[in-house]
Symmetry: D2
Subunit: 221 residues, 4 copies
């Protein structure tokens, strides 16, 4: 399996609108040069314009459990798929879902042909998420998100523990890790712990030179 980098654009002004397109093009360029898979997760209103502009996979940051019907303001799997998304984050630390809605959202995504990454906060919740059969779980201790302190160094046990737990519950699910990741060293440490890749945001988006930050990230692979 190839190493995976998932870049969450969050609602940062540095990655909104036209700047989301530019950020996604950096991802595309670094992916092409390095051979590492990079997924761009722009804000939901930006999915269409980003997906029209790059050839790397574009994921939504969130979908709701609701499908087609009498729902207003909900983000459906069908609609983000139609806008060009190839997958979606679900249950990010900043956008937690009800347990039953995590399940419904995964089912809706599968039906629409979207890949799924379910975010979790500890080993037990990682096990629970794996039982729902997403494509990926991404373990992210909330206290490290945006901290600049990489989970792969600050709490290696939560990463290796998640890898082991998923192996038991549902070995087809792959494990990503996130929170505080910003350098090639952090990335390499994550892979050594058994992760299939990383989920990150501010380490790249808020960098003075995001493209250089991406190149650094893939530099030790």
């Amino acid at each position: 399996m190839k190493t995976l980098i998932v870049l969450n654009f969050k609602t940062y002004s540095e990655s909104t609108g036209e700047k989301a397109v530019r950020m996604a093009k950096y991802c595309e360029e670094v992916s092409k040069e390095s051979g590492v898979d990079i997924i761009a997760c722009p804000q939901i209103p930006d999915i269409y314009r980003v997906a029209c502009s790059v050839k790397i996979p574009v994921f939504a940051q969130h979908i709701d459990a609701a499908g087609a019907g009498s729902y207003t303001g909900h983000i459906t799997a069908e609609c983000v798929k139609a806008a060009g998304a190839a997958g979606t984050l679900i249950n990010h630390s900043e956008r937690r879902l009800l347990l039953s809605d995590v399940d419904s959202a995964i089912q809706a995504a599968k039906k629409a042909g979207l890949k799924t990454i379910v975010c979790t906060n500890n080993v037990a919740v990682t096990s629970a998420a794996a039982a729902l059969s997403p494509d990926f779980v991404a373990i992210e201790p909330p206290e490290l998100i945006g901290s600049g302190i990489p989970v792969s160094k600050a709490n290696p046990d939560i990463v290796s523990g998640s890898v082991s737990a998923v192996e038991v519950v549902n070995p087809r699910v792959k494990v990503l890790c996130g929170a505080g990741i910003s350098t090639g060293d952090d990335m390499a440490a994550a892979l050594r712990l058994g992760a299939a890749g990383v989920l990150l945001a501010s380490g790249v988006i808020k960098a003075k030179d995001p493209k250089a930050a991406l190149f650094d990230l893939v530099g030790k692979l």
Copy 2:
């Protein structure tokens, strides 16, 4: 003031993706021919492609109270504005917000240059919403939404009561009404009760011929 029709595309499959663009073009055509202002409210991932395709105003169905920053999956005023929206629904019956978030969302929308329509469920809540100074409130008794029974006939007092209440609390706010509206008669009844226009969805989107339904709607003005 000109009469206003606000068409909520909801998450109906009949108004998703390419079909959202087609539905918005019907709105544009009827608006042009009739001289009545029609606003299209597609799903959030469809805003960009719809706004690129028509010259009528496009509104979001929802924004969150969150702004630019460390937020994932949230819909910000800045981002829907960048995608081409001119305004937004807030607090729709199917997407209720916390009282304090209704206020924050209105403030965020104003700062981003978006017009605001706050949906309400009774006269007291209409008064409360008007105190927060949106551009419009839209009174929609939840039990009539999607019923085919027009609020302007089933519960005229809730419309005229909302108009009177807003006059007292904040006379610059305009009142729309919705729920069950589908014909030109329903529309005319709403205007006679003091509404500045209507908010509707299934009556047009689910019609066999949505364009004909729109023409019927404006036919008695």
Copy 3:
């Protein structure tokens, strides 16, 4: 293991305040005569007075993930324990929790010495809940709740499927089933499917003679 009946008082007027105490005394009487364990789940403000009045276990209908601290209006494990509760429902169909809060609530309950019953809506969610190591999961298809159509007859596969799934993920967790249960036949069918007991509400609370309904429930054991 003894058979278990968990009676959810919901917010029914028939089981509020003084009537909650009376209902709990019926449970106590039937438990004593039949030798079947019966747990009473009154509304949260009624826990103290009910727990002071009966010797059967009293469970809360819900706790929040919040603990002691700057929280207002939250239901903590410590406080329901201090009021006399021996356990709690978590994530009932009418009071769903975020995935991460289901985990936090289970941990808070364990720390406070409360038993936990996590409610679920399908086999996948049952597996996920079992991975979080509560004492019990209670599978309740939402569409059958309050229907009078017993899950043990209408959807036996969801009960036996939940029993099998839990066996794989976490065999120390016991499985209850609920939704539509009201008679001794429904109860016996549930036990044959591998359930350790049932969770029910309206079938007893709304019965003309709740005590007779409880006696009927245990009559075929």
Copy 4:
């Protein structure tokens, strides 16, 4: 109108279970000696035992919009009334409600004979809350809650602005203020700004000598 002190026990361990009863007795003693009205707001599971132990009014910290029926874990106006509460906080900063649920909760409380205090975060939201006709609004800037910096000194304009705004929208509603209040000076400053009283928590509950803190609070009236 008499001056009012509303003491929110939050979920602090210093005011849980038996300690809630003791804290309420301090309130009763200080109220009796000073002639100032003091309302105790214990956690919801503690309402019954507190209300049985003191003669001062006991308020809930929160009620839900739900009433009697098929609801699990919800806090109904009827049930807290049956437990001995005389009123309730609604929409506290730590337990925000949907706009429509603030209205429903106020209506449910009135029907059950409970007084209502709706908490708000700025002048606009205070106006909106006043439009829903509770007995009181309590303006509490969230950033000052638990800060020890009294709103009556740090942001006097938000208090006097709330008093003026309520006068326009609904003059029968009385205004309390809270956040950072802990001394008799803070209290006196609040009253000079037009508030009818204060809402406070940690300033008393977390004090080394809560009874002395209460006596200090009423000492300059």
